[in-house]
Amino acid sequence: MKHTISVLFENKFNAIPRMVGLFSGRGYSIESISFGQGEEPGLTRATITTEGAEQIIEQIVKQLHKLVDVLKVVDLTYEPFVERELALVKVNSTPSTRAEIMQVTDIFRAKIIDISPKTLTIEVTGKSDKVNAAIGMLMQFGIREIARTGSVALKREFQGHI
């Protein structure tokens, strides 16, 4: 099962290699990992998506927590959480396909952020499956390059009743 794990840590020298090395050294898989500055200077938040049996995931969470520089580890999988990924997709375009590409872009509420006589670059945001779907639809036009951020995620705070 896929798990999304959020890690807040002090971004000291060697902290990121230790975190990544933990996965390779113990044979855990990383599907995606993203880093960015956290809520205060010096703190970084990593969002890791990984797969494994429950016992493995439990170990991953504990091992991450054991790292000296790590402040907080949350496996978001079992609680409501919001998740986004951003992808930039550069597709071939010709005068005859440009309109259709723009339609697909609209449907996914994506944006065209660059244009050249032969290409369009599209920015897609959303959950990973939406990004996958958008890329799938764009494939027919010929994809030149893709850059994806990997998931970033936070726990959903308000869980009110209707």
């Binding site: 840590f9 020298f13 060697n14 090395g21 050294g25 016992q55 439990e58 504990k62 091992q63």
Partner: protein, 559 residues
């Protein structure tokens, strides 16, 4: 203002460090210049940096203090890797200072440059590359704190040459506050209460004790619990000494070469209490059949150890020294009478045994003789393989921190330097290194260190002319094809070798000389002694659980 080197040495003194094991070189020459005029710190010059790490490790295990190593950059640093990995696997606090090329040169493939932080990343608890001399004192004090608290472990501090020469004001750091590092010491009180109930209701309880009780200095607390609950105790290799083996409740060591009765007890108990142990594969044998009838309690300071290999019913994360007294207080006497009788019966029926060895010296007898002559009070260091297992089985340890051995990594070459470190740390103790003709040669250069510093370690070489444990496996599982395990013809003359180093060399080929030579070795107080015992060449370590087999499938051997 002080130089980085002066700050380093001052910080070491403020940490109470009195001994460093090391080897100088270009990148640390400034630090050695400061050490030259610092008589308060004794620097032990080893002959290979691996020896320094093992010596610091032996020093740390025997004394409970943090071991300190100083080496230069590049090869000096890479030579420490095996020693660091050994300490990491066995949770030993050592701090390794490695020199590094100047900051501006890092990454340029400079002379004697190695990315030691990268190389040691998976085998250190934490590591630092000091980039600013103003951070140096903070880093050192933080490192000592991290190395010695929680689950202890080794730390590397990489010191670029320019940092050791730059100037700053030294600040002694008294309070360390690391936001992400708060090891749990007190166990959860409800969990302790539940565990106490489970133990009190047990009919066949068993304490399975690991190195954590030695590391956590909780032997006394363990004894109180065992006595109060009348609970038998078995220890792992690294748990030896945590519970006195002359106590009727002791079952000795369990696992691959554990006693028959310890392995039977672990398979038959109804409540298994793991204390500072991690269900290593050499302990559990085949996991799916391991102690399937028992409910399990697991006390450990490291949460990652819990439910890693074996699922437990009641985990308690915390320090054994905090938890065991609370547990002992809450445990009532168990209903273990019948169980203890059963164990007595097993002990009678399947004792540890070995042959009469009329013609040849049997290694087990050497161990028993060392134990007898030293009244089981000596500190024993070992290498890895048959010598290690016999030393574990037959010495009958009484004191915590008296058995020093590479349990996790299984490092040959550990024994001699570890013995030297232990003896330097515990001057009033007798220290024996029990080794084999293979392992002894892996760090034999440290004989010089022992001679130079007049460290009177006693080295018992169980010389069978084989890499004995591998040969044993080849005999039992590979049709006696002794592929690359025969050393005999290639072995040096250990007596002459010892003499060449300036140590005392003694050869023992007859049974009747074993005790007298060991007694004689105790009289030598100013230099190491190498006792070259020609032992029965194909003696095996028994009992034995074949790798991957169930603990009940022990081979007992024929005597």
């Amino acid at each position: 203002m002080k130089s980085g080197s002066e700050i380093l040495v001052q910080a070491l003194m403020d940490q109470g460090v009195d001994t460093i094991f090391g080897f100088p070189g270009g990148a640390v020459i400034g630090i050695y210049d400061v050490l030259y005029r610092t008589p308060q710190i004794k620097h032990v010059l080893v002959r290979h940096e691996q020896g320094a790490t093992h010596a610091a490790d032996g020093y740390a295990r025997a004394t409970g203090k943090c071991g300190v190593v100083m080496v230069t950059s590049g090869p000096g640093a890479t030579n420490t890797v095996t020693g660091i990995a050994t300490a990491y696997m066995d949770s030993v606090p050592i701090i390794v200072f490695t020199g590094q090329v100047t900051s501006a040169m890092i990454g340029n493939d400079a002379f004697q440059e190695a990315d030691i932080i990268g190389i040691t990343r998976p085998i250190t608890k934490q590591s630092y590359l000091v980039k600013d001399v103003n951070q140096l004192s903070q880093v050192i004090h933080e490192a000592f704190h991290i190395a010695t608290t929680g689950r202890p472990g080794p730390i590397v501090i990489d010191l670029p040459k320019d940092i050791t020469m730059a100037k700053a004001i030294y600040k002694k750091i008294n309070e360390i506050n690391i936001r992400g590092y708060h090891p749990t010491y007190k166990g959860h009180s409800q969990q302790i209460t539940k565990a106490a109930q489970m133990i009190s209701n047990a009919e066949r309880p068993l304490l399975y004790v690991g190195g954590g009780v030695n590391t956590g200095d909780a032997a006394e607390e363990l004894r109180t619990l065992a006595k109060k609950g009348k609970i038998p105790v078995t220890t792992t290799l690294l748990g030896l000494g945590a519970f006195p083996e002359d106590d009727p409740l002791s079952l000795g060591m369990l696992g691959m070469h554990g006693t028959w009765y310890a392995n039977m007890a672990i398979m038959d108990c109804d409540v298994l209490v793991a204390i500072g142990a991690r269900f290593d594969d050499r302990i559990t044998g085949k996991l799916s059949t391991f102690s399937t009838n028992s409910k399990k309690i697991h006390i450990d300071i490291d949460p990652t150890c819990i439910s890693k290999n074996v699922q437990v019913n009641i985990p308690i994360v915390g320090h054994v020294k905090e938890i065991l007294p609370k547990l002992a207080e809450a445990v009532k006497k168990t209903r273990s009478e019948k169980w203890l009788k059963q164990i007595e019966q097993w002990k009678k029926e399947h004792p540890l045994k070995y042959g009469s060895g009329k013609d040849k010296i049997l290694p087990q007898r050497i161990i028993e003789t060392i134990a007898k002559v030293t009244d089981h009070e000596a500190i024993i260091s070992t290498d890895v393989g048959q010598n290690q297992m016999w030393a574990a089985q037959f010495f009958k340890y009484k004191n915590p921190r008296s058995f020093l051995s590479s349990g996790g990594l299984g490092t040959m070459g550990y024994g001699l330097p570890a013995a030297i470190g232990a003896k330097i740390g515990c001057k009033d103790k007798t220290v024996f290194c029990i080794t084999g003709d293979g392992g002894f040669q892996m760090n034999i250069q440290e004989l010089t260190t022992a001679v130079n510093y007049k460290v009177p370690v006693k080295i018992a070489v169980l010389n069978n002319g084989y890499l004995g444990m591998v040969r044993q496996w080849q005999e039992l599982f590979f049709g006696k094809r002794y592929s690359q395990t025969i050393l005999e013809d290639g072995n040096p003359d250990f007596v002459k070798l010892a003499e060449g180093y300036g140590a005392v060399g003694l050869r023992i080929t007859k049974n009747e000389d074993v005790e007298s030579v060991i007694r004689e070795s105790l009289k030598i107080k100013d230099k190491p002694v190498v006792m070259d015992f020609f032992i029965e060449r194909e003696e095996n370590v028994m009992p034995m659980v074949p790798a991957g087999a169930s603990l009940t499938d022990m081979i007992e051997g024929t005597v």
